[in-house]
C-alpha cells in the first residue's frame, strides 16, 4: 500500500493555536497597552505593603490630623502625600494601592468562584439533559432576568458587610452568566461530530464532558470572565457607594470613591477623583483586554 502513503506538505501556518492566538492578540496595540497597564496595576497592588508609606488599615499609622491634605502636602508623620489624604487622614496613594488589592481580589475571587460554579452547573446541565437540565436552565434564566445589581444589593443587605459576604453576593449574582455561556457552547459542541466519535470510541461521559467539550468552551468563558471580573469590580464599588459594600476602615476603591463623593462639591476633588481614576484604569484595561480577546477568540470575526 505504499502508493497510498502521501506524505503531503504541511500547510504554511504551522503554529500552535496558542502561538497563533498570541500573535493575533499582540497585533492590537490598544489591547497590548491595556494588558501592560493591567499588569502594572496588578503588580503595584501586589507590592502595596512594600511600596506605600503607610498601611492605611492600621489605625495607629493613620492620623486624623492629616485629614484632607491636598496632593503633595507633607503629613504629620513626615512623608509627602503625593495624592493627598482622605477625610480620615489616610494617605491616598497608600489607600488606593491597598484598595486596589481589595477590589481586584474581590473581582477575581468572585469571578473565579462564579466561573467554577457556573461552569460546573452549565456543564452538568448539558451533560445530564432532560428535566434536570430544564430545571437548572430555567433557574439560570430567571436569575439572569434579574439585574445583578439588585441581586447583589439584596444579598449584601441580608448578609451584612465584609469582603467574604460581598464576594458571596457577587458570586451569586454572576454564576448564572457562566452557566449559560458554558451550557450554550457545550450544547453546540455536543452536537459536533468529534463528540459522536468519542462516544463511538467508548470514552466515558465524564471524560467527554471535561476533556473534550469543556476545553472547547473556554474561549467564550474567558471572554465572559473578563467582562464579569470588570463588572464585579464596578459592582462592588456601586454597592459600597450605596452603603452596603465593604467596611469603611478597610476601603476598597469603591469605598474610597464613595467616601470622596461627599467632598466633590467642596473642591477636594482628589479624595474621590484619584481612586476613581484607578478604578477606571483597571476596569477599562480589563475590558479592553477582554474585548480584544473576544475578537481573537471568536472565529466568526476572524478574517
Amino acid at each position: 500500500m505504499t502508493d497510498t502513503q502521501i506524505i503531503a506538505p504541511v500547510p504554511a501556518k504551522a503554529e500552535t493555536p496558542f502561538a497563533q492566538f498570541r500573535a493575533e492578540f499582540f497585533e492590537s496595540k490598544i489591547a497590548v497597552g491595556a494588558l501592560i497597564t493591567l499588569g502594572i496595576v496588578v503588580v503595584l497592588a501586589l507590592l502595596a505593603p512594600w511600596i506605600t508609606p503607610q498601611n492605611p488599615y492600621d489605625l495607629a499609622q493613620v492620623d486624623v490630623m492629616d485629614a484632607r491634605l491636598p496632593p503633595g502636602e507633607e503629613a504629620f508623620s513626615g512623608y509627602t502625600m503625593w495624592l493627598g489624604s482622605d477625610g480620615s487622614g489616610r494617605d491616598l496613594f497608600s489607600a488606593i494601592l491597598y484598595g486596589l488589592r481589595i477590589s481586584l481580589a474581590v473581582g477575581v475571587a468572585s469571578g473565579v468562584i462564579a466561573l467554577f460554579i457556573g461552569t460546573f452547573v452549565g456543564l452538568f446541565a448539558a451533560y445530564v439533559g432532560g428535566r434536570v437540565e430544564t430545571l437548572i436552565m430555567r433557574f439560570v434564566d430567571l436569575q439572569l432576568s434579574f439585574p445583578a445589581s439588585l441581586v447583589a444589593l439584596m444579598l449584601v443587605a441580608l448578609l451584612g458587610k465584609g469582603v467574604d459576604k460581598i464576594i458571596l453576593a457577587l458570586v451569586v449574582s454572576q454564576w448564572a452568566y457562566y452557566a449559560r455561556t458554558v451550557r450554550a457552547t457545550a450544547l453546540v459542541e455536543r452536537h459536533k461530530e468529534y463528540v459522536e466519535a468519542a462516544i463511538c470510541l467508548g470514552l466515558s461521559k465524564a471524560r467527554i464532558m471535561f476533556r473534550h467539550i469543556l476545553p472547547n468552551c473556554l474561549g467564550p468563558l474567558i471572554v465572559v470572565g473578563t467582562v464579569q471580573v470588570a463588572s464585579a469590580i464596578s459592582l462592588e464599588a456601586t454597592l459600597s457607594f450605596l452603603g452596603v459594600g465593604l467596611p469603611q476602615t478597610q476601603p476598597s476603591l469603591g469605598v474610597l470613591i464613595a467616601n470622596g463623593f461627599e467632598y466633590m462639591l467642596s473642591g477636594r476633588y482628589w479624595i474621590s477623583v484619584f481612586p476613581g481614576l484607578a478604578l477606571l484604569l483597571t476596569v477599562v484595561s480589563i475590558n479592553l483586554v477582554g474585548d480584544h480577546l473576544r475578537d481573537v477568540l471568536n472565529p466568526r470575526m476572524k478574517k
Binding site: I6, A8, P9, A12, E27, K303
Partner: protein, 326 residues
C-alpha cells in the same frame, strides 16, 4: 452569435495581513448569447471570486487589480456604482451556492422578489408581484401565490434555491452567474434545478456561467468548460474536447479520479498532494509540485497554448492520443 461577455486578463487580489492572495490571476472568458460556460476547479481556485469580480462585488481587502470586462460590448471598468446597480440583478444576475444563506431570513419571499424588480423598473407593486408569482411558477414551484407569503425558513433547501433562481430570472438578464447552485442539494433536487435552469436559458437565450467542482454536472450542461487552478484558467475548450481529451495534467487527473461504472473496484487515479497555499504559490507552474508530468521547464510559468480544439497552460501537456480511462 453575439458576444455577451468578454473578460480579458482579469486579476483580483486580496491584500491580507499575511500577504497578497492572488485569487484570480489573469482569467479570460468569452461567452456568447445562449451559451453555457462551465467553470470547474477545486476549492479555493478562484471560481467564485471570478464570478464576483464580474459582478463587481469584491469586498475589501480584495480589489480587482487588472483586466478588462466588457459586457455586450460595453467596457465595465469605468462604470459608476449607480450604473453597476442598474446592471446587477438586471442584466447580470447571480445565484449563490448555499440556498440556506442566500435569502434574507427575516424578509418574506415576496418582499425579496418585488424589491429586485422595483430596483430596476418603475412598476407597481401588484405588477411586480404578479411577475414574481409567474417566475416562481416558471421555476417549478407549486402554489406560488402561497409561497410568496412564506419566509425562507418555511421552504426546503431545493425550494429556496429555486426561489433564488427565480430572482435571478426576474429581469430576464443576459447573463447569469451560477456559483455552485446545486452543491448543497440532493441529486433529485439538483436535477430539478438544472432542469429549470436549462429550460430557462433555452427559452430566453440567457448566457450562463455555471461554476462547479463537479465535472459530471458541468459536462451535462455546459457548451464550454474552463478549468481553474490556483487563480488561473489552465484549460479551456468545448465540453466534449476537454472531457474526452484533456491536455492539462490537472484536468486529466481530475477526470481520472472520478469513479465510474467501468472503473468499478479498480484503484482510482489520484492527484497527490493538496491544494496549493494561495499565499505562497509554487514558482512557475502552480500545479508543478503535484504533477507527475512535471519537467524542468515547469519552473517557469507556462503560457496559454492553443491547439486546434482547446487552450491549455502547460509545458508538457498530456498527448492528444491519451484519453482518460472511462
Amino acid at each position: 452569435m453575439t458576444e455577451i461577455l468578454k473578460v480579458t486578463g482579469l486579476c483580483t487580489h486580496f491584500f491580507t495581513r499575511a500577504g497578497v492572495v492572488k485569487a484570480v490571476d489573469g482569467v479570460d472568458i468569452s461567452l456568447n448569447r445562449g451559451e453555457v460556460l462551465g467553470l470547474v476547479g477545486e476549492s479555493g481556485s478562484g471560481k467564485s471570486i471570478t464570478g464576483f469580480s464580474i459582478m463587481n462585488l469584491i469586498d475589501a481587502p480584495g480589489r480587482m487589480t487588472g483586466g478588462r470586462i466588457s459586457f455586450k460590448g460595453r467596457d465595465l471598468s469605468q462604470l459608476s456604482e449607480t450604473a453597476w446597480q442598474d446592471l446587477r440583478g438586471n442584466r447580470i444576475a447571480m445565484i449563490f451556492q448555499d440556498p440556506m444563506m442566500t435569502l434574507n431570513p427575516v424578509l418574506r419571499i415576496d418582499v425579496q422578489m418585488i424589491e429586485a424588480i422595483q430596483a430596476h423598473e418603475k412598476v407597481s407593486r401588484t405588477t411586480a408581484r404578479e411577475r414574481a408569482r409567474d417566475t416562481l411558477g416558471m421555476v417549478g414551484i407549486p402554489a406560488p401565490d402561497e409561497r410568496l407569503k412564506a419566509y425562507p425558513h418555511q421552504l426546503s433547501g431545493g425550494m429556496r434555491q429555486r426561489v433564488a433562481i427565480a430572482i435571478a430570472f426576474l429581469n430576464k438578464p443576459d447573463l447569469i452567474i451560477a456559483d455552485e447552485p446545486t452543491t448543497a442539494l440532493d441529486v433529485t433536487i439538483q436535477s430539478q434545478i438544472i432542469h429549470e435552469a436549462q429550460k430557462l436559458t433555452r427559452q430566453t437565450g440567457t448566457a450562463m456561467i455555471w461554476i462547479s467542482h463537479d465535472l459530471a454536472v458541468v459536462a451535462g450542461i455546459a457548451d464550454q468548460i474552463s478549468v481553474m487552478y490556483a487563480g488561473r484558467i489552465v484549460e479551456h475548450g468545448p465540453t466534449d474536447y476537454v472531457i474526452d481529451n484533456p491536455r492539462h495534467p490537472y484536468t486529466y487527473g481530475l477526470l481520472g479520479s472520478v469513479p465510474s461504472a467501468n472503473k468499478r473496484g479498480a484503484r482510482l487515479f489520484q492527484i497527490d498532494g493538496m491544494a496549493p497555499n494561495m499565499l505562497a504559490l509554487p514558482r512557475g507552474c502552480a500545479f508543478g509540485p503535484r504533477c507527475d508530468r512535471a519537467v524542468d521547464v515547469c519552473a517557469a510559468a507556462p503560457g496559454m497554448s492553443q491547439s486546434c480544439t482547446q487552450k491549455f497552460r502547460c509545458h508538457n501537456p498530456v498527448p492528444e492520443a491519451v484519453k482518460v480511462a472511462k
